[in-house]
């Protein structure tokens, strides 16, 4: 496949899953005729029919709750939540039913529902369109939470999520939807990286940058900038927030001795806290500086004309690296 934008890679991944398995269904608002507000499901209703690509009533609890019921009947629904700020009406279904039904039934019931959701900011949008609620789901046992950053991962991870017998929250970095990347569609299932494995995207020896979703590009940009000044940063893409592949991060930190975690979500009680807490434990004797975190502030996401100041920037990442190196 030629260089593909992330949105189209997800579309292709959904299509592949639907072709492979007739039980795969798509549900959401405006995903059929319109193809989704980001066109991620473009053309799928036309090709698979209204029975498999459902434009649903405007009710997120309804989408997730009925998807759960369809999963009980053997289907594999993939729900789209139109924007991250609109997932909360479905929160009770996700947290009290979807996450817990397997444990509740002692493994007798499976609810392999995927919930897709554009997340993160930087698109100049109005309220509720730019938030990063991943940790709310990651804290909830019974769910898996993944967040691809590249077109290749988007293509494969959406298929792996659909194939998972567990419910998966699949976050999509909305400001990267139109960024292109190479997608190798020719891999055999065994060749694809495991869904929850972190990946070292750039090797480096001076400090480790951990990022996920939309901040991966930021981390790579920061590493490129640092390299110009002679500092070699290793960049790790987490890919999964739950479970967390701490081993890959720890392996890196043991070599570099320094760690900066970069996320868009507010730092306070965010996913970076778990990474920091685990790394300070597993790498206590390797760390030469405290783990630093760079991310959103503890504020409601601000108006578009200030969001660039709210979101982490290359400057803020490099400041944190500098502090880590100075320690």
């Amino acid at each position: 496949m030629e260089r593909t934008p992330i949105a189209k890679a997800i579309n292709a991944g959904l299509r592949a899953a639907m072709e492979r398995d007739p039980r795969v269904l798509l549900m959401g608002e405006d995903i059929g005729r319109l193809g989704g507000v980001f066109r991620v499901t473009d053309g799928l209703q036309k090709d698979f029919g209204e029975h498999r690509v459902l434009d649903t009533p405007l009710a997120e609890a309804g989408i997730v709750g009925t998807a759960l019921g369809m999963a009980l009947r053997g289907y594999r629904p993939v729900c789209e939540i139109q924007f991250n700020g609109f997932v909360y009406p479905a929160f009770s279904q996700i947290v009290t039913q979807l996450a817990k039904l397997r444990a509740r039934s002692r493994g007798r019931l499976s609810v392999p529902v995927v919930i897709r959701m554009p997340a993160g900011g930087g698109i100049g949008s109005v309220e509720h369109h730019s938030e990063s609620p991943e940790v709310l789901f990651a804290h909830t046992a019974g769910l898996r939470v993944v967040y691809p950053s590249t077109a290749h991962d988007a293509y494969w991870m959406v298929q792996q999520s659909i194939a998972s017998a567990d419910p998966v929250l699949f976050l999509e970095p909305e400001r990267r939807y139109w960024e292109k990347g190479d997608v190798d569609t020719s891999l055999a299932p065994g060749q694809v990286a495991p869904l929850h494995r972190a990946r070292v995207l750039r090797p480096g020896s001076d400090a480790t940058l951990v990022a996920y979703g939309p901040t991966v590009k930021l981390a790579l940009d920061a590493a490129a900038e640092a390299a110009r000044e002679g500092t070699e940063l290793e960049v790790v893409d987490l890919r999964s927030i739950s479970p967390l592949d701490v081993d890959t991060v720890a392996e890196s930190v043991r070599r570099t001795g320094r760690l900066v975690v970069v996320q868009e979500a507010p730092v306070f009680h965010g996913a970076g806290a778990e990474v920091a807490a685990r790394i300070q434990e597993s790498c206590f004797y390797s760390l030469e500086a405290p783990v630093k975190r760079v991310g959103g502030y503890h504020l409601p996401y601000p108006a578009a004309r200030v969001e660039e100041h709210y979101l982490p920037t290359v400057d803020r990442v490099l400041d944190a690296v500098e502090q880590a190196l100075a320690a």
Binding site: G65, T66, R73, R104, S105, R144
Partner: protein, 384 residues
């Protein structure tokens, strides 16, 4: 009492379907009828009696500390037994948490219900084998999944084929209080939009813990159906024949592709909300007494006596079965083993999960270290 409780409803123009009045006399209804062969009628009585016995035994077991909690169904037996009997094998039930009658009717071992209230598990039955979803404790949260399940039934082509062994209805139970939840409204709407084969069975037992139904809604609950675009029927929930007839029609409508129906079974919670509740704080004994005269089992028994279907021998046989049933519960519950502590790590995820595996290993190591100090189950009122 001659149906005083029905009075106000009728005064509001709210007729309710009845085939047996409170005295047990058979009534005609223009829209609904039902005929039971003597055997089947006795079997219905048997189910009613066993269900009530389950309640009595469970309450006693809770008092003895054998159960952590019990949510009783006393007073609601006709609603549950009648509705369950309207279903076919392939139909699927999404119960709330006091719908024990459905579980008995669908062949679930009552010990698998009691294990939940003992705190051993969240319900031990096989939902697929019995066609009964696990109990849902979050009010109204079972409703949207039930509709989704029914949408799956539609996609399977198991609606409107005319094949009585294939066409499938989904019945979802919920209370009067549940109708206030947004998810309940969403469920009704989705079922109507997709014409899903669902029977919404609202057991209006007049109370949501301490709140009377008027605190939930100014309109009779079955009228919610109008706003959602489906038929709504109020049936006397203490009349097992009427419930059977009404739910049977609704289930048939669902299976044939006619779409969803809302059935309000007008009944009464004779006991406490749960054993943790003290209803004397919020309701009058007089109200309970009034409803006692509308007892669903007495009423059906009177009817069967009048028909000559029930005689003393048959009554004795049922009571003997109930005694044996009770004995089994009394013997079985205290013997239920506590789950192995590490079993909690087993079913959080289907696929291997490094976090869970690591925590399990940590747990097992710590447990081995401290085993001597640990008294399994010591904080839960127990028998060991």
């Amino acid at each position: 009492m001659t149906d005083a409780a029905v009075g106000p409803a009728r005064a509001r123009g709210e007729e309710m379907v009845q085939l047996l009045d409170a005295t047990g006399a058979r009534r005609e209804h223009p829209g609904y009828d039902v005929h039971l062969e003597p055997d089947e009628a006795l079997d219905v009585l048997r189910e009613l009696v066993l269900l009530r016995r389950l309640d009595a035994e469970a309450e006693a077991l809770q008092r003895q500390g054998q159960l952590g909690l019990w949510a009783g169904s006393r007073g609601q037996e006709a609603a549950q037994v009648g509705a369950a009997r309207a279903l076919r094998r392939q139909d699927h039930v999404f119960p709330s948490y006091r719908d024990h009658g459905f579980l008995l009717a669908r062949g679930v071992d009552p010990l698998h219900v009691l294990s939940l209230f003992r705190g051993v598990d969240h319900g031990g039955w096989d939902p697929v084998a019995h066609g009964v979803h696990p109990y849902t404790l979050v009010i109204a949260a079972q409703m949207l999944p039930a509709v989704g399940y029914a949408m799956g039934v539609q996609r399977d082509g198991a609606v409107g084929t005319g094949d009585p062994g294939r066409d499938t209805a989904v019945l979802v139970c919920f209370g009067d209080g549940a109708t206030s939840q947004g998810e309940a409204a969403e469920a009704l709407n989705w079922a109507a939009v997709y014409n899903a084969p669902v029977v919404f069975l609202c057991q209006n037992n007049q109370w949501a813990i301490s709140e009377p139904v008027r605190q939930q809604s100014p309109v009779p609950l079955h009228r919610r159906a109008e706003g959602a675009g489906m038929p709504g029927v109020r049936v006397d929930g203490n009349d097992v024949l009427a419930v059977l007839a009404v739910v049977r029609a609704a289930a048939e409508r669902a299976r044939s592709g006619g779409g969803p129906t809302f059935v309000e079974a007008y009944t009464y919670r004779m006991g406490a909300h749960t054993t943790a509740d003290d209803p004397t704080r919020y309701r009058d004994a007089a109200e309970v007494d009034a409803w006692r005269e509308r007892d669903p089992i007495d009423r059906f028994r009177t009817h069967l006596r009048a028909l000559g279907v029930l005689d003393d021998a048959a009554e004795r046989a049922i009571q003997q079965e109930a005694d044996a049933f009770a004995e089994r519960l009394r013997a079985g519950v205290p013997q239920m083993p506590d789950p192995h502590p590490a079993s909690m790590f087993e079913h959080a995820y289907a696929e291997p999960h490094p976090q869970v595996l690591a925590e399990r290993d940590e747990f097992l190591a710590a447990w081995a270290r401290h085993e001597q100090d640990e008294q399994l189950g010591s904080t839960v009122g127990g028998d060991r």
